[in-house]
Every structure is written in structure tokens, then in C-alpha cells.
């Protein structure tokens, strides 16, 4: 004799296997693509979709030739150079980048032996991409606010911390670390400042301090011959729509553009749109697969109306019948979801390893966990409502057959 579930299989067996297999396969594809696209989209700043900023910031310097290694004067930007740039069509603003002309090093407070030599830079606050409300300094202040490039944090997290058994830092946790900056002159005077990370920025690859501190510190600590406000680097704000004149001048003067943000930003936008499209398609596939599940259940309940009624009449409860239909529908679906999650994780690990040299993926495990949690929560919600739906339809069909 058969077990109960096998008997159900014989009684309620007509024609739902094909739509269930079809929906399981499409569910597998949809879940896999959703996880992959959602995972990568979570790394992308969505504000780039809605950004109306038309300006690009370029860091410009002069080409280094052999002759300049002897005579550095040729590397400095003159007022004439700056004015020429300012007067170009499309150029909105130009500022010097002030670099430190004294040796300095940074360490975590209390760990003075564990230091790193650094150089500091400063630009006008209006060129910074972060909130500059508290990014300032006065001569009585022994605490320096710092704006650090995100690239440095990535470098620390993915290379330095691993090599030195140090903890990985987030942008927020890094702001709480007490730092010391030691500034020295060649004459022997030494000044130690407390420092705190004010923020992290993507715009400029450097460690920035307030401009007035840099001018003051250069006057105090730099050699006599270096006590000037000349700059070898400038930052230029250019209108994205009108940068032809700027590019022409760069070519004519043989200037070097250090961060070609235009290419990166366009590629990033294209990538964003592609991933967004992929996510939309995968959500579409998921919706279709759930529609097929709905259809399969409808077919089963409609075709087996009489047998369902008979089962109820001999003593089976609606919940027992519903559980069998649910099981029949969802075994394939659970396998599809589980399989797609496994394949996605393997795929993501491979992809991130391959892309590790090109992009930095923060908090990989946390993001993956969040995505899997969302999928699990959605599955539970769908299962719950499917159950309610199956029960409702069985009851409805039961009433209809008695009336007819």
C-alpha cells in the first residue's frame, strides 16, 4: 500500500509538472540575475543617476622633462598660466593646489613607533566634494581636520591592514581614530598636532588640510628658498558641455591631466544603466515565473476539483490538501532558489576576485548577507500568500461544486 503523499500524487496528478518545471527554471535564471545585478548595483552610488552636476574637476600639472629635474621653476604655474585658463570658455574656476614643503609623518595616538611618512596638500574649500562646515583651522588650534582620499582607505583595508594584522576600517569608524601629525623643519623644530579625519573624498587623491593651515605651516616650517606660494599642480572646474577649449589648451601646452574623471564617470554611468537594465529584466523574469506558479496552481485546482471535493468528503482537511498542492508547487521552486543562490555566491566570489584589481568591493560579506536575507524574506512572504491563495481557491471551488 502507498503512503499518504504518494496517494495524493496519484489522485492529484494532472498536468502541472510542465508549468512547474518551466517556472522553476525561469525562477532560477531570474534569482541568479537579480542577485548578481542587485549585488553590484548596491556598490554604485545611485545619485549618479540623478546628478545634475555638469562640472568636472581636473588636476593639471606641467609635463616633467629631464630639464625640469634641474630647474624646477618651469614646473610651477605662473599667474599668467592661471589667468589664461580662467579666461577659457567652459572653465568655471581655477585654484592652486598647495603642497607641504616640510617633512611630516602620521601615526595613531599612542603608537608613535608605528608611523608613516606623508605629504599634505590643500585646496580652496569650494573645490572640495564634502561638507566643509567644520573644515577650518586657526593659529590657536592644535587639532587638524583631514580630508582623505577614499583610495587611501581602500589601500589600507585591502593591502596594509592585511599585511600588518590591523583591523579593517569603514569611513565612519576611521573618523573616530585619534591621529597625530608630526611636522618638522630642517632646522630641527618639531610640532605635533592632533588630527581627526573630517571626511573621505573621491574627488582628489591626497591628504588635505585647511588651506590657511598649509600657508601658515609652509611659512613656519619650510626652507627659506621654498617659502613661496608657487604651485606645481592646479585644480580646474570645467563645464562638462563646454570643455573643448580646455582640452585644446591642455594639448597645446602639453599639460598633464592627472585624473581624467570624464572617462570614469561616463563608463560608470553606462555600467549603472546596464546593471539597472539587467535588474529590471531579472525582476521581469521573476514575475513571469511567479505567474507560472500561480497558473500551475490554478490548473491543478480546476482540473482536480472533483477529487479535491472527494478528499474533503472522506475526511481530509483543506489544510492537508493545500499542503500537498503547496509542496508539489514549491519543491521545484525551493530547489531553484537554493541552486541559484549557491551558483550566485560562487559566481560572485569568482567575479570579485577577478575584479579586485579594478574596483574595490566594500563589505562583501555584509552586502551578500543583506541580499540573501532580502531574497529569503521575499520567498517567505510569497509562500505565505500562496498558501492563503490555494486555501481560498479550494474553498471557493468546494462551494461552487456543491451549488452546481
Amino acid at each position: 500500500m502507498f503512503k499518504s503523499s504518494k496517494l495524493y500524487g496519484v489522485v492529484l496528478s494532472r498536468g502541472i509538472r510542465v508549468p512547474i518545471i518551466f517556472s522553476s527554471v525561469s525562477l532560477f535564471i531570474g534569482t541568479f540575475l537579480s542577485i548578481i545585478s542587485f549585488f553590484f548595483i548596491s556598490f554604485i552610488d545611485l545619485s549618479t543617476f540623478f546628478s545634475e552636476a555638469d562640472d568636472i574637476f581636473y588636476v593639471v600639472s606641467k609635463d616633467t622633462k629631464l630639464i625640469h629635474t634641474i630647474n624646477k621653476e618651469k614646473l610651477y604655474f605662473t599667474d599668467e598660466d592661471l589667468n589664461q585658463l580662467k579666461n577659457l570658455n567652459g572653465v568655471k574656476n581655477v585654484s592652486k593646489i598647495y603642497t607641504s614643503k616640510f617633512p611630516s609623518r602620521i601615526y595613531i595616538s599612542g603608537l608613535a613607533n608605528f608611523y608613516s611618512e606623508i605629504f599634505l596638500e590643500a585646496i580652496d574649500n569650494e573645490f572640495l566634494s564634502v561638507d566643509t562646515t567644520n573644515f577650518n583651522w586657526n593659529q590657536n588650534q592644535k587639532r587638524l581636520p583631514l580630508i582623505i582620499s577614499n583610495e587611501f582607505l581602500h589601500l589600507y583595508n585591502y593591502s596594509f591592514s592585511g599585511a600588518n594584522n590591523l583591523p579593517v576600517l569603514t569611513t565612519e569608524s576611521a573618523k573616530f581614530i585619534p591621529l597625530k601629525i608630526e611636522i618638522g623643519s630642517k632646522l630641527g623644530s618639531l610640532e605635533v598636532y592632533s588630527a581627526k579625519v573630517h571626511d573621505f573624498s573621491d574627488r582628489y587623491l591626497s591628504i588635505l588640510v585647511p588651506k590657511n593651515f598649509m600657508i601658515w605651516a609652509n611659512n613656519i616650517f619650510a626652507d627659506e628658498k621654498n617659502k613661496n606660494s608657487k604651485s606645481t599642480k592646479i585644480i580646474v572646474e570645467v563645464d562638462r558641455k563646454e570643455f573643448t577649449d580646455f582640452i585644446t589648451l591642455i594639448d597645446d601646452k602639453n599639460y598633464i591631466v592627472q585624473n581624467n574623471k570624464i572617462g570614469i564617470s561616463e563608463n560608470l554611468k553606462l555600467l549603472n544603466y546596464s546593471l539597472g537594465l539587467l535588474l529590471l529584466i531579472s525582476i521581469g523574469i521573476l514575475l513571469i515565473s511567479f505567474f507560472f506558479i500561480y497558473l500551475a496552481n490554478m490548473i491543478l485546482i480546476e482540473k482536480e476539483q472533483k477529487n479535491i471535493q472527494k478528499l474533503q468528503l472522506i475526511g481530509y482537511s483543506i489544510r492537508e490538501i493545500q499542503f500537498y498542492i503547496f509542496k508539489q508547487s514549491f519543491v521545484g521552486i525551493f530547489i531553484a532558489i537554493a541552486f541559484s543562490i549557491i551558483i550566485s555566491i560562487i559566481g560572485l566570489v569568482q567575479i570579485t576576485e577577478l575584479m579586485n584589481n579594478f574596483i574595490i568591493l566594500d563589505n562583501f560579506k555584509i552586502r551578500l548577507f543583506i541580499i540573501l536575507f532580502v531574497i529569503l524574506a521575499l520567498s517567505i512572504i510569497i509562500i505565505y500568500f500562496s498558501n492563503l491563495y490555494i486555501i481560498k481557491n479550494i474553498k471557493k471551488n468546494h462551494k461552487t461544486s456543491f451549488i452546481s
Partner: protein, 120 residues
């Protein structure tokens, strides 16, 4: 008769037996044999004769525990011999369960076969 056409006799009985955890399988065998429902070649219920289906329905109603048995023309497709056998069996199971029966029939003879009948 809530018989499942695509199940054979045993499975039609089993689907009812599955509802009870403490079912007595020796009793099931006894009832099946008594009603001559143990064929050599098991057939699906849709291929059974009306009489066989009727006996199968009686068998299924008797294997489960009950205090009142309701039968709607239980002997309608049975010949005299099978009607007598079924009546004997119903009486035996009723006595065993200390249960009542309510049944409908068009034949007066059927009313008299059961031990205690209330004619309406």
C-alpha cells in the same frame, strides 16, 4: 460513492486508512475478504463493476471508527448473496463499535435484515 477511479482497491482503502493513526490492518483484511474484495489482479477502481464499487464503498465506511453510520442505499447494486454478506458485516461492525446506523433503501427486505430498525 467517493471512489477514486485512478486508484486500485487497496489504495482506495488506504487513502481512508491514512486518516487514522491507530487503524487495525487485520480488521481491514477481514472486511476486504468478507466482501470478496481481494482480487488476484488489482484493477483501477474506474474498471470495477458497480457492485464491486459498492462493496468497496461499504468496506471503506466500515474500516474507520464511528458512533453513527449513515448509508444511502448501500445495497443498490448488490445481488442477494452480497447483500446478505454486507448486512451481516454491517451488523457485526455496528455491534463491535456499539454504534447506530441511519440508512435509506427502496427495498423493504433490506430494512428487515438489520437487527433493530426504525421504519420511517
Amino acid at each position: 460513492m467517493q471512489i477514486f477511479g485512478n486508484l486500485d482497491i487497496d489504495d482506495n482503502i488506504q487513502i481512508v486508512a491514512n486518516l487514522y493513526s491507530d487503524i487495525d490492518y487485520s480488521k481491514i483484511h477481514y472486511i476486504k475478504n468478507f466482501l470478496n474484495l481481494a482480487p488476484q489482479n488489482p484493477r483501477k477502481a474506474k474498471n470495477l463493476s458497480l457492485g464491486e464499487r459498492q462493496r468497496l464503498a461499504i468496506c471503506r465506511s466500515l474500516i474507520r471508527p464511528f458512533s453513527t453510520l449513515i448509508l444511502d442505499e448501500p445495497f443498490s447494486h448488490l445481488d442477494k448473496e452480497n447483500t446478505e454478506k454486507a448486512t451481516l458485516l454491517i451488523n457485526e461492525v455496528l455491534k463491535e463499535n456499539n454504534a447506530n446506523v441511519i440508512f435509506t433503501s427502496h427495498s423493504k427486505s433490506n430494512w428487515q435484515i438489520l437487527n433493530k430498525s426504525l421504519l420511517v
